[in-house]
């Protein structure tokens, strides 16, 4: 085999690694299902059906994938910038709260004003929450993993407080049940549904027969498109702008960056600021596109759906590349949506899905070792074969090996 072919094969293996990790996780899941007296084949069939079986299922998968993608692209920025943001949960919550508070305070605003304002507010709130951890890291030397974990808890209690007091639906105050949730947000704040547009595209392509299931009744909203657009923009930002280049430089080698005149501390803050902002936006989109109100019923997890953590996995899965994060988010969205169906079909606790996802996380981070080892081999191959790979890419390879 020629060296360049080995190179390509190695790249392919790199991309397949996460998929392999998922397969192994699912196999372990199958063993657990057997131990719980459930038929794994029927269970995984249900999982697939639940995630992709109908247009409605696909829509649900995409809706679930949306916050994962937004959190995930934020994670791409922070990890590339050398900071580990575990605070997606808290950042989503404050983002959701900001959007909720703004929408409730402007009941008469027009949709064209209200929706962008709410989304900007949610981004800003998440950015502040992430920025706190950034400032703490850059100027007070506080480990960001710990501070973001703590800020998650603070945001959770803050949300519970606001739901029970300041923002509670006035009707709930007098109701006997007294559910800690806000009033429904004004209708103009609802993110437009995109099922109708999809159907017209299908019709135009001649795919949308009268009997075929239609997209229109699905709950698919424009937030999904917003997330994909931002994923592309973040890619451009990280690889095609000076600011993005500097963030990556700081992440790769802070000392060298400092010598090169980059103000490392500012870029650390910026990484967490942006990362938090996208998580905040994920929270805002959850409120405007799915829930249409904020609720503390079922705890914070009922609102975030653990997307703050799962978004990290999606990003890792996508090799910390915003575009790779798109399919990775869909995969995890599918696992979550299909998992619900699996759980209902074979009657196993939903905690099984948490276990499966945790196994995927563990396998993905663990398989990094082989990726790194192969990257190092690639350097050797590239160095031995200057003709096949121009000097520029060899330097990049070298960079990756570190």
């Amino acid at each position: 085999m020629t060296p360049s072919r080995t190179l390509r094969l190695d790249r392919l293996l790199d991309l397949l690694m996460p998929v392999l990790a998922t397969v192994v996780a699912l196999l372990i899941g199958a063993v657990m299902l057997v131990l719980m007296d459930a038929d794994p084949i029927r269970a995984y069939q249900a999982l697939y059906e639940g995630a992709f079986g109908t247009k409605n299922a696909v829509a649900d998968t995409l809706i679930k994938a949306t916050p994962l993608l937004l959190v995930g692209i934020g994670i791409c920025i922070s990890f590339r910038g050398g900071v580990i943001n575990i605070g997606g949960e808290g950042q989503m919550i404050v983002g959701g709260l900001a959007a909720t508070a703004l929408a409730l305070s402007m009941p008469d605003a027009r949709a064209e004003v209200l929706i962008p304002a709410c989304l900007v507010a949610s981004f800003a709130a998440g950015a502040v929450w992430g920025g706190i951890a950034g400032v703490l890291k850059a100027y007070f030397n506080v480990n960001e993993i710990l501070s973001t974990v703590m800020l998650n808890q603070v945001a959770t209690y803050w949300m519970i407080y606001l739901m029970n007091n300041t923002l509670i639906d006035p009707d709930q105050l007098t109701a006997a049940s007294r559910i800690p949730e806000t009033d429904r947000l004004p209708r103009q704040s609802d993110l437009p549904r995109i099922g109708g547009w999809l159907d017209s595209i299908y019709d135009w392509l001649g795919l949308g027969g009268a009997d075929a299931a239609r997209w229109t009744p699905t709950l698919l909203h424009i937030g999904t498109i917003i997330a994909v657009v931002f994923a592309v923009l973040v890619y451009v930002f990280l690889w095609r702008t000076t600011l993005g280049y500097r963030i990556r430089a700081v992440g790769k080698n802070p000392r060298a960056s400092r010598y090169a005149g980059i103000r490392v501390k500012r870029y650390t803050v910026l990484s967490l600021l942006l990362s938090g902002g996208f998580a905040g936006l994920a929270g805002g989109i959850q409120v405007l596109g799915v829930r249409h109100r904020m609720s503390a019923e079922g705890g914070a997890i009922a609102f975030t759906g653990n997307a703050g953590f799962n978004g990290i996995v999606a990003a890792l899965f996508g090799k910390l590349h915003p575009l790779g994060t798109i399919p990775a988010s869909v995969l995890f969205g599918a696992l979550l949506v299909g998992g619900n169906k699996l759980q209902r079909t074979v009657q196993v606790p939903s905690a099984l899905i948490t276990v499966l996802i945790s196994l995927v996380i563990v396998f993905v981070v663990s398989s990094d070792l082989w990726s790194r080892q192969r990257a190092r081999r690639r350097v050797a191959v590239a160095a031995a074969e200057p003709a096949a790979s121009p000097g520029g890419s060899a330097a990049i390879e070298m960079d990756q090996a570190k």
Partner: protein, 310 residues
């Protein structure tokens, strides 16, 4: 509220429950200290605590034996520790992320096993309070210090032991060398991997006892996610205590006392909203981390996997 707080019986009660509540933090944070001193950040403590809490509870429920509960919890900790060490040491995973994976694994699996093995909420007879002869009858001090269950005493006994092991034994020297300069330690013939496996597994076993101290001593029930963030706080306490057992103990006590105070405020239902009171420990952690970070004695190789010949 202030004059209520200054009532001596209230103060004694808060101090005593502060000591009791410090127990899980102590086990988990002392265990984590060993891991971090050798250069491994195990962020999965929370998940391991949950596994320890469940398995200890399960064993006590089925056998009625507290010893069995502790042993089974230790076993669960050993297995979780083995897995954690394999992922972080052998496979050299990014420790911040693998920790979240281990946390979610423990969170999910403990819940899953609980739902599979119990139909309804049950309680067990956990560790009884021991009134230490003579000492427990000292006014004020007796009530604060000498009327706790066995696991509380062991937790506090662990602190000087950990200090001694880390600072006065060859093993401790090896652990510190591996955490400070693994290349040099390796050159001296110390197996970096073996030392890290040891500390991570030890840490996980202590974390499992931390969980069990909740389920079979402090609360005597198991609930999904019953640790509620205590494992993460324990990790932060290690930073706060500057990787020193007595510093960690001071942090744990500060924390649990704030917690006890917070619980008292909640029962009184006065002035401060309960949610803000619950927030206090976390805000305090952040503040504590700011203060602790001024000192720079973090193990140099913390979170860095060891590669020979770098």
């Amino acid at each position: 509220m202030i004059d209520q707080l200054l009532d001596s019986s209230v103060l004694i009660g808060i101090a005593a429950s502060g000591i009791r509540l410090a127990t899980p933090y102590l086990y988990a944070a002392i265990g984590e200290t060993f891991g971090q001193r050798s250069g491994v950040l195990n962020l999965g403590v929370e998940g391991i605590m949950l596994m320890g809490a469940f398995s200890g509870f399960w064993a006590v429920y089925h056998t009625g034996s507290l010893l069995a509960g502790v042993l089974i919890a230790l076993l669960a900790g050993l297995l979780m520790g083995l897995g954690t060490a394999f992922i972080n040491v052998t496979l050299k995973a990014e420790q911040g992320i693998s920790g979240i994976g281990i946390y979610l694994f423990g969170l999910g699996l403990s819940d899953l096993l609980f739902q599979q093995s119990f139909d309804s909420v049950v309680t067990v007879n956990g560790f009884p309070r021991i009134h230490v002869p003579v000492l427990s009858r000292i006014p004020v001090l007796g009530e604060i210090f000498f009327q706790h269950n066995l696991l509380v005493y062991i937790a506090f006994g662990l602190v000087p032991v950990a200090w001694f092991v880390l600072n006065r034994t060859t093993l401790g020297l090896k652990i510190r060398a591996v955490g400070q300069n693994p290349q040099a330690a390796d050159a001296m013939g110390i197996s970096v991997a073996r030392v890290r496996y040891f500390t991570v597994i030890l840490g996980a076993m202590l974390a499992a006892i931390a969980g069990a101290s909740l389920s079979i001593a402090l609360l005597n029930v198991f609930q999904q996610n019953m640790t509620a963030g205590q494992g993460f706080i324990a990790v932060a306490l290690v930073y706060f205590g500057s990787w020193r057992p007595f510093g960690v103990m001071a942090g744990a006590l500060l924390f649990s006392t704030v917690n006890a105070l917070q619980l008292w405020v909640r029962t009184k239902g006065i002035d401060i909203p309960a949610e803000y009171a619950s927030m206090a420990p976390y805000l305090l952690t952040i503040l504590a981390l700011v203060l602790a970070s001024q000192r720079v004695d973090q193990p140099a190789a913390l979170t860095k996997p060891f590669e020979r010949g770098e």
